[in-house]
C-alpha cells in the first residue's frame, strides 16, 4: 500500500471508473436484478465476461465453477449471490496473482535494469516516461536507454518524456544498432552509479523471427556488462487488445526466456482489458502497472487485491 498512498488511491478508482460500465458494475447490476442462478442469469454473465475480452475458455471456466458451487453452496440473498460470483471471478484471476507481491520500488540491486517490450503502438515509450517519473519520485536516479533505433523520431519522443520526468537518457541518433545503445546505457549506469535503468525497445510483432532475434541480441549484449540482467522484462499490453494478447506474451516470453510483468495501458478508454485475466490465468505473469491517461502521473501500480476489489465490488 505504501506506494498507493503516495499516488493516492482515489486516482486508481478514478481511473477504473473511467473504464465505463466496469465489469463489477455490470455484474452487480445483473445480480441485483436477479437473485438466482439460472440459464438466463448464466447467459447474461457470459455476455459480460466475453465482452471484457477475457476469452471463451476463461469465461467457460468461471461459469462452470459458479454452476458447481451453486449446487452445494446455499445463497440466501443477493448479497450472498454477489459474493459467490465475485469469489469465482477472483479465484481465476488471483489464484496466480496472489502469489506475486505488489511491485516494490525499494529495489535492492543496482543498477536495476528494466527492459520494456511489446508490439507496435501499445504505449511503450509513454509508459517508460511515466515509470521513470515514478522511480524518480521515490528518490531513485534513473537512466533511460533509447534502443528503439527503428521508428522515425522515437529518440525525440523518448527524450521529451525523459525531460518531463527529469531523468537522464542515453541515445545515439546515428546508430541503427539497438544492442549497442542498450550496452552503452548499462555501462554508463554502472560508472555513474545509477539506481535504475529502463531500456526502451522498438515495437515489434511477436511473429517476426528476425525482430525477435534482434531483441534477444539486445538482452545478450547487455549481459556482457552485468550477467544476470535485465532484472525485469515488462511487456506492455494495450487494453483494447483482443485474444492475440496471449500470443504476444507467449512469444516475447519464449524469445527472452522470461517476461516478469505486464503494463496494461489505455485503461481510460472503453476497453476493459479483460485479456490480462486470461494471460494471468494461463501464464502466471502479474500485471505490474496500469496506464490511465496521457499525463506523466497517469501510471498506477497494480495492486491485485485493491484492483480486484475496485473492479468486482460495489
Amino acid at each position: 500500500m505504501s506506494f498507493l498512498d503516495k499516488i493516492g488511491f482515489t486516482k486508481l478508482k478514478e481511473g477504473l471508473s473511467r473504464t465505463k460500465g466496469g465489469l463489477i458494475d455490470k455484474v452487480s447490476r445483473l445480480i441485483n436484478s436477479k437473485a438466482k442462478i439460472d440459464d438466463e442469469f448464466l447467459s447474461e454473465l457470459e455476455e459480460i465476461f466475453l465482452l471484457s475480452d477475457m476469452g471463451f475458455d476463461t469465461s467457460e471456466k468461471i461459469i462452470s465453477n459458479i454452476k458447481e458451487r451453486a449446487k452445494t453452496d446455499k445463497y440466501e440473498n443477493e448479497k450472498e449471490l454477489n459474493k459467490l460470483v465475485t469469489d469465482e471471478i477472483k479465484k481465476v484471476f488471483s489464484e496466480s496473482a496472489s502469489e506475486f507481491k505488489t511491485f516494490d520500488f525499494n529495489i535492492t540491486k543496482k543498477p536495476y535494469v528494466i527492459m520494456i517490450v511489446g508490439v507496435n503502438g501499445v504505449g511503450k515509450t509513454t509508459s517508460i516516461g511515466k515509470l521513470a517519473y515514478n522511480f524518480k519520485k521515490t528518490g531513485k536516479t534513473v537512466l533511460i536507454g533509447s534502443a528503439d533505433t527503428f521508428r522515425a523520431a522515437a529518440n525525440e519522443q523518448l527524450e521529451i518524456w525523459a525531460n518531463k520526468a527529469g531523468v537522464e537518457i542515453i541515445q545515439n541518433p546515428h546508430s541503427t544498432d539497438p544492442a549497442a545503445v542498450a550496452f552503452d546505457t548499462v555501462k554508463a549506469a554502472v560508472s555513474r552509479n545509477t539506481d535504475v535503468v529502463i531500456v526502451d525497445t522498438a515495437g515489434r510483432l511477436h511473429n517476426k523471427l528476425h525482430l525477435m532475434e534482434e531483441l534477444k541480441k539486445i538482452q545478450r549484449v547487455m549481459q556482457k556488462v552485468i550477467p544476470d540482467i535485465p532484472n525485469e522484462i515488462f511487456i506492455v499490453i494495450d487494453a483494447t487488445t483482443g485474444q492475440n494478447g496471449l500470443n504476444q506474451v507467449k512469444e516475447f516470453s519464449n524469445a527472452l526466456g522470461k517476461v516478469t510483468g505486464i503494463i496494461l495501458t489505455k485503461l481510460d478508454g472503453t476497453a476493459k482489458g479483460g485479456i490480462v485475466i486470461k494471460i494471468n490465468n494461463e501464464m502466471k505473469i502479474p500485471v505490474r502497472f496500469i496506464g490511465v491517461g496521457e499525463q506523466i502521473d497517469d501510471l498506477q501500480i497494480f495492486e491485485s487485491e485493491e484492483f480486484i476489489k475496485a473492479l468486482f465490488e460495489k
Binding site: 466475453l50 483494447t240 496521457e294
Partner: protein, 449 residues
C-alpha cells in the same frame, strides 16, 4: 484450424449420415465449436450470436447428400455467411475535383495512423498522384517529427507549423500549402484519441469542417478485441467516415474485429497495412479475411501467385514425373527455384491451410532454401538422378562442398524420401480426395468461375 473445425463436425455429425438431415439436436454441439472459433478470433459477442442463429436456421432441415459430408456442408454454410457479413464489394479511394482532394486519417492512439499516412502517400505517388502530408498531431511528443522523417524518406512534403497548438489552423493552412504547391491530394494525420474524449472528438470534427475531405479513413488495429465495435461506432456517429483501414495484419491475429466493425458500420475496408516497410500496403480482400478467421489459409492468393509465377510447361513435366514416380533431386531443385520466385517463404506458407496452426505463429527461416540449393548443387549429376546411391562418403563430401553439416544433408535426403513416399500416396487416389476437398472451398470456386 479449418481442417480442425471440419474434423470436429465430422465427429459430431457422423450419426446424422444415417438420418440424412441436420436437426436442431445434432447441430447444437458443433455450433458451440464455431462460437469458440469466432470468439477466439475477436468477433464481437452480439455479432457471434446473430451469426450462430443464422447458420442454424440455414442448416436445419438441409439434406445431406451422399457426395458431401454433413461437416463439409455446414462449413460451407458458415463460410458463405461470413463472406456475406464481410461484404464483397471492393471500394476504391474517393477523390474530389478540388485541389487538393483531402483525406483525413482518424483513430485511437497507437492504431498506426502516422505510419499509414506515409504508406498511403507513397502508394498514391506510385499511382501518379501528387500528394502532400499534413502533421496535425500536436499532442503526442515528436509525432510531427516522425511524420517529417517519414515524408523525407519518400520525398513527399510534410506541412507543419512549429509550436502551433491549434490543429484546425494547421489543417486549414495545409490546404493552402497544397494548393500553392500544386499538390492534388492532402493526407491529414491527426492525433490518436479516445472516442469518449468529447473535446478531442470535437477537434477532429472541426478539422473535417474546415477542410471538406473527400475521404475520412478510420484506422483500426487488427488486434483489437471486443471494444472495436464501440470505438468504430462512436467515431462513425461523430465523423461519418467513408472507409476503414486495418493495420498490423502481418501479425498472427485473426482479425475478427473487421467482421465486428463491418456489422455495425456499413463502410468498406479500403486497405490492409501489412508490415514495417512503407511499401507494405494492400487492398483488402474480404474472402481472404474469412479464410484467415476460419484458419483455412489463403489458398486463393496462393493459387493466384502460383498461376502467375509458375512455368506451366515445367509444371506439366513435373506432373508426368510424379505420376511415374521418377521425381529426383534435379526436379526438387527446379521446384525450389519456382517457389523462390513466388516471394518469401513465410508469406507463402501463411497462405496454406493449416499452416498457421502448425507453425503457431512462428516465422520461417528464409535462408533455408539457399542452403538446400547449395546441398543439391554439391551433388554430382549422377547422384541427383539416382538419390539411392548417396552413401556416407558421398554425404560427407556433399556437406563439405556446400558448407553445411552432414546432419543437414541427411535431413534433406530424409525429407526428400518422405516427399517421394507421400507422392506415391497421392498417386494411389489421395489426389482425387484432395481435389474433391478443394472443390468444397466455395471462395476458391468463385475465383475460377
Amino acid at each position: 484450424m479449418f481442417e480442425d473445425l471440419t474434423h470436429k463436425f465430422e465427429g459430431v455429425l457422423k450419426k446424422i449420415r444415417g438420418q440424412g438431415k441436420i436437426t436442431e439436436k445434432n447441430i447444437d454441439e458443433s455450433l458451440r465449436e464455431v462460437r469458440r472459433v469466432l470468439f477466439d478470433a475477436d468477433v464481437n459477442y452480439k455479432v457471434v450470436n446473430n451469426f450462430i442463429q443464422n447458420v442454424k436456421a440455414k442448416s436445419l432441415g438441409e439434406q445431406v447428400l451422399t457426395s458431401v459430408t454433413p461437416g463439409q456442408l455446414i462449413v460451407k454454410i458458415i463460410n458463405d455467411e461470413l463472406i456475406s457479413l464481410m461484404g464483397s464489394e471492393k471500394a476504391d479511394l474517393l477523390f474530389s475535383d478540388d485541389i487538393p482532394s483531402v483525406i483525413i486519417l482518424v483513430g485511437l492512439q497507437g492504431s498506426g495512423k502516422t505510419t499509414f499516412a506515409a504508406k498511403l502517400a507513397r502508394h498514391l505517388k506510385t499511382k501518379g498522384r501528387n500528394p502532400a502530408l499534413a502533421a496535425c498531431d500536436i499532442y503526442r511528443p515528436a509525432a510531427i517529427e516522425q511524420l517529417k522523417v517519414l515524408g523525407k524518406s519518400i520525398d513527399i512534403p510534410v506541412f507543419s507549423i512549429e509550436g502551433e497548438r491549434d490543429a484546425v489552423k494547421i489543417s486549414n493552412q495545409a490546404v493552402d500549402f497544397a494548393r500553392k504547391n500544386a499538390r492534388d491530394t492532402l493526407i491529414i494525420d491527426t492525433a490518436g484519441r479516445l472516442a469518449i474524449d468529447e473535446q478531442m472528438m470535437n477537434e477532429v470534427s472541426a478539422i473535417k469542417k474546415a477542410t471538406g475531405p473527400a475521404e475520412i479513413l478510420f484506422i483500426v488495429d487488427s488486434m483489437t478485441g471486443q471494444d472495436a465495435v464501440n470505438t468504430a461506432k462512436a467515431f462513425y456517429d461523430k465523423l461519418k467516415y467513408t472507409g476503414i483501414v486495418l493495420t498490423k495484419l502481418d501479425g498472427d491475429t485473426k482479425g475478427g474485429a473487421a467482421i465486428s466493425i463491418k456489422s455495425i458500420v456499413n463502410e468498406p475496408i479500403k486497405f490492409a497495412s501489412i508490415g514495417e516497410k512503407l511499401e507494405a500496403i494492400e487492398p483488402f480482400y474480404p474472402e481472404r479475411m474469412v479464410s484467415r478467421i476460419l484458419g483455412m489459409g489463403d489458398i486463393v492468393s496462393f493459387v493466384e501467385k502460383a498461376q502467375t509465377e509458375f512455368d506451366m510447361t515445367e509444371t506439366a513435366k513435373l506432373e508426368e514425373k510424379l505420376r511415374k514416380n521418377k521425381f529426383d533431386f534435379d526436379d526438387f531443385l527446379a521446384q525450389i527455384k519456382q517457389v523462390k520466385k513466388m516471394g518469401s517463404i513465410s508469406s507463402l506458407v501463411s497462405m496454406l491451410p493449416g499452416a498457421s496452426a502448425a507453425l503457431k505463429g512462428k516465422e520461417i527461416d528464409e535462408k533455408i532454401f539457399v542452403r538446400l540449393e547449395a546441398i543439391i548443387l554439391s551433388m554430382t549429376k549422377k547422384e541427383r538422378a539416382n538419390p539411392d546411391i548417396l552413401n556416407g562418403t558421398r554425404r560427407r563430401r556433399i556437406a563439405d562442398g556446400s558448407g553445411t553439416s552432414i546432419q543437414e544433408v541427411n535431413k534433406l535426403i530424409k525429407q526428400f524420401d518422405d516427399m517421394r513416399k507421400m507422392m506415391k500416396g497421392f498417386n494411389r487416389g489421395k489426389m482425387k480426395n484432395l481435389l474433391k476437398s478443394l472443390k468444397m472451398n466455395p471462395g476458391m470456386m468463385n475465383q475460377f468461375k
